[in-house]
Amino acid sequence: MSSVIYDRIRRNPKFDQLVQKRGSFAWTLSAIVLVIFYGFFLLVAFNPKMLGQPIAEGSMWAIGYTAEMVMFIFFWLLTFLYVRRANGEFDDLTAEIIKEAQKETK
């Protein structure tokens, strides 16, 4: 029985829309995190000196420390963005798709 509904959901063009939209959003965000994260690790491995420099002449803030603190905040903001969009827009669309699939049964 649920297999029938799964089939109907699958055939609903809105399902493709959901998968496509959410998928590309999730992968884009993941790519941003992975590129920055491994980019940073490559800097740690190959150019540690640069990360130890101050951000400005005479400042106590090192480039690496500052950049990493920004990464902590930035990555968290990305999770916030994803949760907001997924729990709002994407979940509304999901609810719609399920409702339409169940309606056909009646």
Partner: protein, 554 residues
């Protein structure tokens, strides 16, 4: 004598850092005088959590209640619990100590620990919640043969047991140090309390113990930092100027040091921590304790917020300690600030608490550290028990034909067995060099659990044959890489040189697992494989929409 304690100390750091290349901590642990402030505060914690366990017992009737608190935990509560699972006593003590001795390197480790969370959210949280019920093996075996479930349960158990041994031995050393209790007594107390929480209160109690402890830890750490940082007018510039002036690394205190100078190790560490986290059974299990994918996503948002915040607190604590602890002869053996810290390197956070808040705050932080260990081992025991009772007993041996009552009974027996095993192994390994165990746990999680889990969710082509090859291949290669590395081959087995030059297995073991899973799946032309590929469609729709996912039972 001193060497054994050094290795035990290193272990504590490893438990937090999950790396084989942890900081070399110096100094000797001595049993401390009995710390009454800490013991009284710990007893208050135990009384409170026992009350909760009693309350939870009344709410633990079905298997869903036992394993996943009936899915009735909110996203915020679960976020705290996940953060609690992730921030062990070793995180607090080990990372403060590492900042104290090595400065900026510690902050790099923290980022490696943190960055896995966004990835888990974007690529896994939703599908985990939509497909799983009690264990992550539910997902890997969703459309595959039960033998895949057995494989996933076994590799979960490997992870749980190694992690448990590391936690138990660390716990014994730490409690001996902080409370002045005998090692064996400490191990026994941890084991017995853990069995009570889990067998009586199931996931409801385990979650609440974790939540309370997470709040105490966040509160205690932040308080110590505020008190300490206020002495520098909350100015990072002032703090750094003064710290660099006295620290042995001087101006390079805030530059990357020697720990991650080798690119292969750095990359492998990054991979292992990021994807190891995404393969730890007790963390994955937390995604099933919430009602739906919405709450699962919120869990990660809150969890990563707390974890990120706390790492920054710990780093600043370490910097403050360079001045308030590192310059105070009171905390050094023989009053010599060039010598060893009293109690060993891992005592930095504790000395700092004493420096800014006296015996009361020291007692409080020590009690929190003890509570932290208890909460983490409870989560591990529950994850192990679910692999035994749900996956192996109920699903594979009884083929799903057993009542809730029978299954819970087996879970409880499994918990007690794991508790007894943990006590025995904890005592047996007291004097062993077990630094490799957490590395092994993370290695197996990253190389066996994670690849099969992610492929089963994302790749239509995965078949039973591919999953078994990938899973077992991942376990075996991760274990072999660790055994042949310096941590075991040289440090434990006393060979002259390691057969495997790197300390981190992930960069090598993960590709092996993915490769085997791929090759043995695409070359599988059996009728069963065709059926399994066909079954992906329904699984895919459920993963995306959550339709048919198990909901909250109350």
């Amino acid at each position: 004598m001193s060497k054994r304690f050094t290795t035990a100390l290193a272990l504590l750091a490893f438990a937090g850092l999950a790396v084989a290349a942890g900081p070399a901590l110096q100094g000797e642990i001595k049993t401390q005088p009995t710390n009454w402030h800490a013991i009284i505060m710990f007893l208050i914690f135990v009384t409170m959590t026992m009350g909760i366990t009693y309350w939870a017992a009344g709410r633990t009737k079905s298997t869903a209640d036992f394993y996943t608190a009936g899915g009735g935990i909110t996203g915020f509560q679960n976020g705290l619990a996940i953060a609690g699972d992730y921030m062990s006593a070793a995180t607090l003590l080990g990372l403060t100590a590492m900042t104290f001795s090595r400065g900026y390197d510690a902050y790099i480790y923290m980022m490696a620990f943190f960055a896995g969370w966004p990835i888990i959210l974007f690529l896994m949280a939703e599908r985990l919640r939509n497909l799983g019920r009690f264990t992550f093996s539910d997902i890997t075996s969703y459309r595959l043969d039960p033998s895949v479930r057995t494989m996933a349960a076994l590799s979960s158990l490997v992870v749980v047991v190694f992690y448990l041994i590391a936690q138990m031995v660390g716990a014994g050393q730490l409690i001996k140090l902080l409370f002045g209790l005998e090692y064996n007594v400490a191990i026994f107390v941890v084991g017995v309390l853990m069995m009570v929480y889990v067998t009586v209160g199931g996931m409801v109690a385990t979650t609440w113990v974790q939540i309370i402890k997470a709040c105490l830890l966040l509160f205690g750490g932040t308080l110590v930092l505020i008190l300490g940082f206020s002495q520098f007018g909350f100015s990072l510039t002032t703090l750094l100027e003064k710290a660099q002036a006295v620290h042995k690394q001087g101006a390079s205190l805030m530059a990357p040091g020697s720990l991650l100078s080798d690119p292969v190790t750095a990359l492998s560490l990054g991979l292992g921590l990021m994807f190891g986290t995404a393969g730890l059974p007790h963390i994955l299990m937390r995604f099933f304790t919430v009602g739906n994918a919405k709450e699962a996503r919120k869990s990660v948002l809150y969890a990563s917020g707390f974890v990120g915040f706390f790492f920054n607190v710990i780093f600043l604590m370490g910097l403050v300690a360079i001045l308030l602890v590192g310059q105070n002869p009171e905390y050094f053996e023989g009053g010599d600030i060039k010598g060893a810290l009293i109690g060993g390197g891992n005592m930095v956070a504790m000395h700092l608490a004493h420096a800014v808040g006296g015996n009361m705050l020291l007692g409080f932080l020590a009690a929190v550290a003890f509570a932290t260990i208890l909460a983490v081992v409870s989560g591990l025991a529950l994850a192990g028990a679910s692999a035994i009772a749900h996956d192996i007993y109920a699903r594979v041996i009884r083929k799903g034909e057993c009542t809730d009552k029978e299954e819970i009974k087996v879970s409880r027996m499994a918990t007690i067995a794991l508790g007894i095993l943990a006590i025995i192994l904890g005592i047996a390994f007291e004097k062993q060099n077990i630094a490799f165990m957490v590395g092994l746990a993370f290695g197996v999680a990253a190389a066996a659990n994670f690849p099969v889990l992610i492929l089963s969710m994302y790749w239509k082509g995965l078949t039973t044959r591919g999953a078994l090859w990938g899973g077992y291949g991942g376990v075996i290669s991760a274990v072999l890489f660790v055994v042949f590395s310096k941590a075991v081959w040289v440090d434990v087995l006393h060979n002259a040189a390691p057969l495997f030059p790197y300390t981190q297995p992930a960069l090598f073991a993960m590709p092996i697992a993915f490769f085997l899973a791929y090759v043995f799946s695409v070359s599988d032309s059996s009728a069963r494989a065709a059926k399994e590929r066909d079954a992906f469609e329904d699984q895919y729709v459920r993963a995306q929409t959550g339709f048919g996912a198990s909901g909250a039972s109350h």
